[in-house]
Symmetry: C2
Subunit: 142 residues, 2 copies
DNA sequence: TTTTTATCCTACCAACCTGGTAGGTAAGTA
DNA sequence: TACTTACCTACCAGGTTGGTAGGATAAAAA
């Protein structure tokens, strides 16, 4: 289950992309528009800075700005960053110790295929795609 | 992330299927073979009985037995049962209250497509498929 | 009928995760 | 100097996870 950290990070990225005008956008504005606590966003957003998705500027006229173009921001990268991992089972997670039953495990292949399915799905979507996404219309297709 | 409940339930089903001989198999045997605490399994397994995947018999000579053929046991059904839900985000979970931002949400369509992707994937796999699964061989394909 | 075997049921628990809040500090602009 | 904004750290309540413990109940064997 994707937690609020990943979901909020995506909404911040979309919001910054939609209001992109070259200057810096205060996180307070994003928080107001997205109806998310500024304090909570302030704890989520720094990792996006560290990995070079956005850059922050202190003081008046400061805020955040996209570093890459929305077309180059893959949802998969943002989710892996904020969620730590997209692994569907513990044994495939990043810091997992090797499972002793792996050689005889009848479910391992299923989990591994699922793992690549997940990562491929989100790697195939960019922030630019989400900007164009209209939920009401898409609902009929699904 | 799929918890131990769902993963252990699958291993129990596979174990029962592999040792199927018409009579009842004590959960103690399954617990020993799978190296899972009997007490913990006893708390997980009843839901499989309630939904008609397996049937239990008390007393000596008792244990559990598959009701359906392994070909008719879909992994998706077992996981939805034991995990409660396979929804990737809170707003798509079973008891979720409708989200007020749904009409303007730019990520909803992505989550919905991901949700059907997950369910379709696991609905396309049966216990019979898992019985045939050889992890070592499949690793090279993935 | 007693004993054994097994399912089934409920309560409890420690550790961790989630979704925050609170209170500051650092840095840049007016 | 005053203000604004990013940035950092500690704390916290509530829920989930992954169990354990101790039985009650049912059925077959002795």
């Amino acid at each position: 289950m994707i937690s609020t950290r990943g979901r909020y990070a995506l909404r911040v990225m979309i919001d910054l992309a939609e209001h992109q005008n070259g200057s810096y956008i205060p996180m307070k504005d994003v928080a107001d528009r997205q109806d998310i606590s500024l304090k909570y966003l302030e704890r989520i957003v720094p990792v996006l800075t560290q990995e070079g998705f956005i850059e922050g500027l202190h003081g008046k006229g400061g805020g955040y700005r996209l570093v890459k173009a929305p077309e180059d921001c893959r949802v998969g990268d943002i989710l892996r960053l904020t969620e730590g991992d997209l692994a569907p089972v513990a044994c495939l997670a990043k810091g997992a110790q090797p499972c002793g039953r792996a050689a005889e495990c009848r479910t391992l292949a299923m989990w591994q295929k699922f793992n690549t399915l997940i990562n491929d799905y989100f790697d195939g979507i960019t922030i630019a795609d989400l900007m164009k996404s209209s939920p009401a219309a898409d609902n009929y297709i699904i």
